[in-house]
């Protein structure tokens, strides 16, 4: 294979670069489409093409074989710098990316997140300094000369991190340098456009001096290129001269061409009038209230290179405001939507899960009692739990949608009476709190994950309980008040990105049938069995995603709509069948147990905790861990959380909180849910990603047991799986996101219960400390050696 051929195969398809470029393109495209509809002459195809070309140039510079060649040939490395510094930035600026990128962002990020920064006089002052031609000129020159100092350049050749930093410097220096030249819309003209001419000429001059040094030097500046083999037999000195020549020719062309264009624009008679720049109120851009983003009037733009820039008046006009479109609706997505709202599809999914549950039970009782060789040891504890959290994070409570227990009880109800009302005294989550504590205890004390036999019995117990309870009582009492899986799903799904919700509230106001809650005989639909009346339903709490309401509503007014995860926790208004969150101590305790349970459950699988349990059991004179585990689970899931919450509530009371201590505690506990969800996610995806291959040999083994031949079980797949390098950073990232989300919610909740920002900060501080504590416990747990559940200790090869 020739060297060039081999080189052409060397694509550096770096996931970071590609993802960032794709996301930037997506945001730009989304924003551009909206703006183009309103102002086609302002945001034309030229802008779009130019921006995408700029991105393509960056891709070529960083991901193409040029990257591989750059470590062998100085000219290739110089080529990268030219692309990053001189070609990509002007193309990106011609795309006028500011507004399209802002427009492409979700409104709340744009308004509440970025808007205040853009409107801040301090930020605007800094931006003005950074884009001042004197600064940009000297910054580019400094970056160019400094990075070509031999020791620094050599450093970048041997260290990937420095290499990336070097490229970032060149790119951003280029972006700043080209800003005053292109003046991308809606930039303000602050100096005469004639000044751009000496600006570019001086830049070309310093580029000439720089390049000439490379071209005519008889000294090799970078000995690294002498050491590396050169498949093209290019002498290092020649290579250096070619690199200088490239910089000279391309640099001069790129800098002098705009001079001609600008001068041509300026000497046209109509271009000589420069009007005072006007300003676009940021409010109209959805970025703020009274602050002004300066824009250029048409004639002032003459002589700029920013594409079709003619008139800006409408940018500030109301016509540019985004027409309100409804949020993303999963049920409106072709195929997926009709599948999710179809009862037949739901029954098929339930039947599939039911068949899997039967297999789990059979293998649990009859198969080998080694978790990693048994379907009951792998499927529920590795795959199903991974599926739960992934589904919750991507859509919502999808497991309840396909729940096999509901499938059986629905069939059973054809025979059973189901005519009693669930006892009033049990209409709360207290029973569920007890059952979840029982489960967390049993999981550790009986090592459920390691016992296919126990797992099979638990699955059977679930079927019997669901059948018995819903066979006797009306509605979905089992789901709403008993099922621990359901409670887990309900609580965690408040941070899911979608919820079952009415599309237009106005339609419900004029509705007279209320089929969503009452049901409709024609469609043989009983309405929401969880008693959630759609117009008053908020969040996914208690919603099983059963879609009965969707099918019942005669106005097709219910969808699975996008929502900001966790945002409904900030509201405390009346919710159908839930009432006010601040009055639900039982629900808050359930959330608290699930938050702390996440950490206790994960900590229970790390080496130091298991050692500590053994030592404590020995110190107590016991041969088994049972007592230690019992005390540990009760302490970590109930006693410590309650004490911490009590302390935090007491400390928060020091400020002027305008609610009772109980309501304060209850509301703030809900703010901790994202932290708990993050820990569950880390825990479950760890097992899922490290042990998901286990299902293959187990299936082969089961097939062999019943006389089918799917090949010899590939036990290697359930053994010795080393966690991939990226898993730990991923877990920490998830924990960090959970901590940030919880902190944000806690502060916002405190803000709603206090009179000033200062009070809110003080009131939320103890709760933020609990979050920080949980975060650190989570990090510590992740850094410990994990018990590799679901994998074989010794390969059965």
């Amino acid at each position: 294979m020739s060297a060039t051929e081999a080189l052409m195969r060397s694509w550096n398809l770096d996931v970071i670069y590609i993802t960032v470029l794709l996301i930037a393109a997506l945001l730009y495209l989304r924003g551009w489409l909206g703006l183009h509809r309103q102002r086609p002459e302002r945001f034309g195809p030229v802008n779009l093409i130019s921006f995408l070309l700029g991105e393509l140039i960056i891709f070529i510079a960083l991901c193409s074989p040029l990257e591989a060649a750059s470590s062998m040939l100085l000219q290739a490395h110089m080529g990268q710098h030219i692309l990053l510094m001189l070609i990509a930035p002007p193309l990106l600026w011609i795309g006028a990316p500011g507004l399209p990128l802002l427009w492409g962002l979700p409104p709340f990020v744009r308004k509440a997140g970025i808007g205040p920064f853009l409107a801040s006089p301090g930020v605007r002052r800094i931006f003005r300094v950074l884009t001042h031609p004197i600064f940009t000129f000297f910054f580019l020159a400094a970056v160019l000369w400094t990075w070509h100092l031999p020791w620094l350049y050599q450093l970048s050749l041997t260290s990937p991190a420095w290499h990336q930093f070097e490229h970032a410097c060149f790119f951003w220096a280029g972006m700043l340098f080209w800003y005053p030249v292109i003046l991308p819309y809606p930039a303000q003209v602050r100096w005469s456009r004639w000044l751009v001419v000496p600006y570019l000429l001086l830049a070309a001059l310093q580029n000439t001096i720089f390049s000439a040094i490379f071209c005519f030097s008889s000294v090799i500046f970078y000995p690294y290129y002498e050491q590396v083999p050169n498949a093209w037999a290019v002498k290092p000195l020649d290579d250096q001269a070619v690199a200088g020549g490239l910089m000279w020719i391309i640099g001069s062309l790129v800098m002098l061409a705009p001079v001609l264009i600008i001068v041509r624009g300026l000497v046209r008679p109509k271009g000589l009038t420069i009007r005072q720049p006007q300003a676009v109120p940021l409010k109209r851009l959805g970025l703020g209230q009274s602050h002004q983003l300066p824009v250029l009037q048409p004639s002032a733009q003459i002589g700029t290179l920013g594409g079709s820039m003619t008139d800006t008046s409408a940018i500030g006009s109301p016509t540019l405001r985004r027409k309100r479109r409804g949020p993303f609706d999963l049920l409106a997505v072709p195929v997926v939507g009709s599948a999710l709202s179809s009862l037949v599809f739901r029954r098929c999914v339930q039947a599939t899960f039911f068949a899997l549950a039967l297999l789990i039970m059979l293998d649990g009782w009859l198969g080998p009692q080694v978790a990693s060789m048994n379907l009951a040891g792998a499927l529920p504890w590795i795959h199903w739990r991974g599926f739960l959290v992934i589904a919750l994070l991507i859509v919502g409570n999808l497991f309840c949608f396909g729940c096999p227990f509901v499938f059986v009880r629905t069939l059973g109800r054809k025979l059973l009476p189901a005519r009693f009302n669930w006892p009033r005294v049990l209409r709360s989550k207290w029973l569920a709190v007890g059952l979840i504590l029982l489960f967390l205890w049993a999981y550790e004390a009986l090592s459920l994950w390691a016992s296919p036999w126990w797992t099979a019995w638990i699955v059977l117990g679930y079927f019997i309980a669901a059948l018995a309870i819903d066979g006797l009582f009306r509605g979905a009492a089992f789901c709403k008040y008993v099922c621990p899986i359901g409670q887990f799903q309900f609580v965690q799904s408040v941070v899911s990105p979608t919820e079952v919700r009415v599309r237009e509230l106005d339609r419900c106001t004029s509705c007279t049938t209320y089929d969503c809650i009452k049901g409709t005989a024609q469609k043989n639909n009983q309405g929401c069995e969880l008693h959630l009346f759609q117009p008053r339903k908020k969040s996914n709490l208690d919603c099983t995603f059963c879609m009965d309401c969707v099918r019942a509503c005669p106005h097709d007014n219910i969808g699975i709509l996008a929502t900001t995860p966790g945002s409904t926790l900030l509201q405390d208004d009346y919710r159908s069948s839930i009432r006010r969150l601040s009055r639900r101590l039982d629900l808050a305790l359930l959330a608290l147990v699930l938050v702390f349970g996440a950490f206790a459950n994960a900590a229970g699988m790390v080496g130091p905790v298991l050692e500590w349990q053994d030592q404590t059991a020995a110190a107590w004179g016991m041969s088994s861990r049972m007592a230690v585990v019992t005390v540990g689970v009760l302490a970590s899931c109930l006693v410590i959380p309650v004490v911490l919450v009590g302390l935090a509530t007491a400390l928060s009371q020091i400020t002027s909180i305008n609610t009772t201590p109980m309501r304060l505690a209850v509301r703030m506990i809900f703010g901790l849910i994202p932290m708990g969800m993050a820990m569950w996610t880390c825990h479950f995806i760890f097992h899922f990603l490290t042990s998901m291959g286990t299902v293959v040999p187990i299936t082969q083994r089961m097939a062999r047991d019943v006389g089918l031949n799917l090949g010899e079980p590939a036990w290697i797949l359930s053994c010795c799986q080393v966690p991939p390098d990226w898993l730990l950073p991923l877990e920490i990232f998830i924990l960090a996101v959970g901590a940030v989300a919880s902190s944000y919610l806690l502060y916002r909740l405190a803000l709603r219960m206090t009179r000033s920002t200062r009070d809110a900060v003080l009131a939320s501080l103890p709760w933020l400390l609990i979050t920080a504590l949980l975060y650190l416990v989570g990090i510590w747990t992740m850094l410990q050696p994990m018990e590799m559940r679901g994998t074989l200790d010794v390969p059965l090869l």
């Binding site: 294979m1 020739s2 060297a3 081999a6 080189l7 195969r9 060397s10 550096n12 770096d14 970071i16 993802t19 960032v20 996301i23 945001l27 989304r30 990257e67 591989a68 470590s71 062998m72 979700p106 409104p107 990020v109 509440a112 997140g113 205040p116 920064f117 409107a119 801040s120 041997t158 260290s159 990937p160 690294y224 590396v228 083999p229 050169n230 498949a231 037999a233 209230q289 009274s290 602050h291 993303f328 990105p497 979608t498 996008a562 991939p724 390098d725 990226w726 730990l728 950073p729 991923l730 920490i732 990232f733 960090a736 901590a739 940030v740 902190s743 944000y744 975060y775 990090i779 850094l783």
Partner: protein, 185 residues
């Protein structure tokens, strides 16, 4: 659609962290030999060389034809010059190299100390003998685990700082607005 964008932004953040250890872009030259027109060079990465994942690559160029040879039999060994760990061995292949002009072996160096890196190249056309490249390399200690993830550990603190800054901007905007409305009155 907004949700889609948020998901995409999350993907960027995720991508930032799930990027695996960067392969060496050649790395540090450790040894080089020209035998019968074959120029062979041995590289190591990371720089500085540390216990943990390491990348040993070899580049073989036929100077007469300008061909890069990427399907040679190259066996890489890492031999400790001190008591303790066992030697490591792996074949260097083009698949494991990011720069396809090279053949690379990705190994997990268990301990710091002085290691002898050896690459034995065989199967070169018209050359019966094997070419051996070697170098003594001092490996530093493995970076503590938190050092490789510290950026992710401080992520909440960064988010907090950004949020505080955001809130300062919001409140100063409110004050400015109040001032200007008071002046207008």
């Amino acid at each position: 659609m907004n949700n889609l964008v948020i998901h995409c932004l999350s993907v960027v953040l995720l991508a930032l962290i799930i990027k695996t250890e960067a392969h060496a872009d050649l790395g540090t030259v450790r040894d080089s030999k020209v035998i019968e027109g074959y120029e062979c060079t041995l590289f190591s990465a990371p720089e500085p060389f540390r216990a943990g994942p390491v990348d040993i690559s070899v580049m073989v160029v036929n100077n007469k034809t300008g061909q890069a040879l990427v399907d040679c039999q190259i066996d890489v060994s890492l031999i400790p010059t001190f008591e303790g760990p066992a030697s490591l061995q792996a074949p260097a292949t083009q698949e494991d190299a990011q720069n396809k002009l090279l053949q690379a072996a990705l190994l997990e160096l268990p301990e710091p100390g002085q290691w002898k890196v050896v690459a034995r190249i065989t199967g070169l056309p018209d050359l019966d003998q094997a070419i051996e490249l070697s170098a003594l390399v001092d490996a530093f200690a493995h970076l503590p685990r938190w050092r490789s993830i510290w950026l992710w550990l401080v992520l909440p603190a960064i988010a907090l700082i950004v949020y505080v800054f955001n809130q300062i901007c919001v409140s100063s905007r409110k004050q400015r607005r109040q001032r200007s409305s008071a002046e207008a009155k």
